[in-house]
Each structure stands twice: as structure tokens, then as C-alpha cells.
Amino acid sequence: MVYNYYPGCTLSTKAKKLDIYARAAAKALGFELAELKEWQCCGAVYPLAQDAIGERLAAARSLAAAEDGKLVTLCSACHHVLKRVNADMAANGEICAKVNAYLGEEETYHGQTEVWHYLEILKREIGFDEIARRVKNPLTGRKIGAYYGCLLLRPAGVMQFDDAENPGILEDFIAALGATPIIYDYRNECCGGYLTLTDKQATGEMVGRVIASARQKGVAELITACPLCSYNLEVNALGTEMPVHYFTELLAEALGLKEEETACR
């Protein structure tokens, strides 16, 4: 199976690990990520205002380019933006008409593309049971906390990713790899996001609470799908530390691909 793939800017530079392990694991699991030609930056934040048309164009272009079926994403922010812009194109007549007028393509785009997160492919197309069967190095005994953050889950009505307050997909994923998923209260609370640029103190407090909450429950390492969450957790935490990995890194490790990949590089 070949899926259209939207990596996003960060994955080509600062979050390479998120990307390369995802591709390697995909190959091992029998599917392929075919990078969209000429994708553009999604804009990183979803434009909330009804009249923010320009800010939606890049996402709409990428979505339209993947018109033949599913578009797979990895980064939480890209997923969030693409999924929500797609929902606008499908259901918000005014935005759809204006964006199409800008795109100026012969065929208009109406949100036909399905935006899937890599995790959704793993869960719904491959199946966590199947992944568990393919695991070569089970991560037995490792106490891992899933850090969802905000963007994958909310708003639940549009993202349709998981129960926004009681999510379980990452925990199921962790369990499939043989590790012990640990649920803690702050797994869906914000990491401080882009405030890292303007108010390090604020971000620090926020990730501090996340890490404290996780540690209290016995979490030894965190996994995330978002480069910015990962950065904030690693860099901004004040006076506390917690190993943070991308979920794909963990997947590659369990599938026995991590050493190979590192060797290749």
C-alpha cells in the first residue's frame, strides 16, 4: 500500500528522527510513504478566523495535490492544520469558495482527501495486534507515558482522532510494543507551544507540570508526535528532566530497525 505523505518542514530538518523512523517502520510493516511533490509549509497554526483565507491556501494546495485518497501526516501541528482546513473545505461554503478562487485550478477542491495520522494507519490499517506480532525487541518493562498534547485531540469533532479527554491510541500503541503504558493527568494539557519564543518562563511552568504529573505516576520516558512538544519538554522544563522520544523512534526500536537505520546513516 502506498500513501501520500506530507512530512512538513520540521520533519525535514529538526525532527528528522520522527520522519526517518516512520518511513523505515512503514517499509517493515508493508506500506510506503510517498512524499507529495511540491508540498508547502502548512502554516503551523490553524487560522481560526473565518476571513483568514490566505493562511489556508498552502494547506489547501497540499490537500488538493493528494486528491486521490488518503494523505498521511506525522507532525501533530501539520495534522491539525491539514485536517481542519480540509474540514473547512468540505463544510464551510464561504471558505471553500474563496480558497478555490485563489487556487485558480480548473477543478475545485471540496475536501475530498482524507487526512490520516500515521498512528491511525497503524491502528486501523495495520492493526496494533499485527504490530505486536512484528515486534522483534519488545520494550518489556519500560514505563512509558504518552504525551498527546493539544493538537491531535482537539477539537474532537473535527479531529476525530480519539476521545479528547480519555485518549487511548498511544497507550494501545505502547502496549503493542511490549512496554507498559502509563496514564497521567497532564497527557492532554498544553506544553506551552510557541510561547517558547516569547515567554520561556510560561512554557517552562507548563512542561514542568506535565513532567511532574508523569513522574508522579511512575513514567520513565515520554513519547510524542509533535516536534514542538518534544522541544519544549526537553529544553524548557525548569529544574526537571525526562527522556522524550518520538513515537516512531520507539516503533523502529521495537521492530528492530533502529540499529540498522543508524548504521546506514
Binding site: T10, L48, R154, T198, P227, Y231
Partner: protein, 130 residues
């Protein structure tokens, strides 16, 4: 002045697409807000002020620059009001004015470190500058 402000409020509500009149001031948004402790006007109060047309007060509030668009308020609001959208709409009325950018781009290199993902920079510029 009063009339002008009411018109502005109406415009903010329009571009936000939020039905602020559904708000019953229960304060759940503020309770859920992870950045609330640093806000001068809490989300529920923000909705209230906007309903009363006080856009200029809101335009000056620190809340605009503390909101993270994490949507905890929107997700937990029992009335389907979306405070994050309202905050964004007011923020847009500010940054869309010429020279009202919140981040000085020249100073950016000083705050960016080697590992900072560009996602952070793009997000912040989208939120704070035009």
C-alpha cells in the same frame, strides 16, 4: 466611540463565527486554561467583555499574547462557545493594523536556539505578526 466599538465587536464576532451569546459565564474555560494564571483577563471574562462590546479593552489585554490556541477551553465549554476563536479574532484586529506586530523580527535570532523547531517560529509569527 461607543458605537464604533460595538461595530468592532460585531466584526470580531463575525470573523470568529462564535455564538458568544450561548455563554452562560460558568467559567469552565478559565478553569481549563493552562495559561490562565498569566492572563489579565480570563477567557470567560474575555467572552463577557466582548459581548459588552469592550474591544479596545481586550485589544490591550495580555491575554491575547498568552493564549496558546490549545483549545482546552473550546473542548470543555458546555455551550459550544469557542473562546480561543474569540481571542484570535481580537488578536487579528490588533496585528492587522500596520506596525502592530508583536514580535520584533530583528530580535528573533537571539531567542532561537539550534534545536528549536521551525514549527515554533512559524507558529509564533503567524499568531503574533502579520
Amino acid at each position: 466611540m461607543q458605537i464604533r466599538e460595538m461595530e468592532e465587536a460585531a466584526e470580531v464576532l463575525r470573523i470568529s463565527t462564535v455564538k458568544a451569546e450561548n455563554c452562560m459565564q460558568c467559567g469552565k474555560c478559565s478553569a481549563a486554561c493552562p495559561a490562565g494564571a498569566r492572563m489579565d483577563i480570563l477567557p470567560h471574562r474575555f467572552v463577557w467583555e466582548l459581548m459588552n462590546g469592550r474591544v479596545s479593552l481586550l485589544a490591550k489585554s495580555g491575554t491575547l499574547w498568552q493564549c496558546l490556541s490549545c483549545f482546552a477551553c473550546s473542548a470543555r465549554c458546555p455551550r459550544g462557545v469557542d473562546p480561543a476563536r474569540l481571542i484570535e479574532a481580537v488578536r487579528l484586529t490588533v496585528i492587522r493594523r500596520q506596525g502592530a506586530n508583536s514580535i520584533n523580527v530583528d530580535e528573533l535570532p537571539q531567542v532561537i536556539d539550534e534545536n528549536m523547531p521551525q514549527q515554533a517560529i512559524v507558529s509564533a509569527l503567524r499568531k503574533y505578526n502579520k
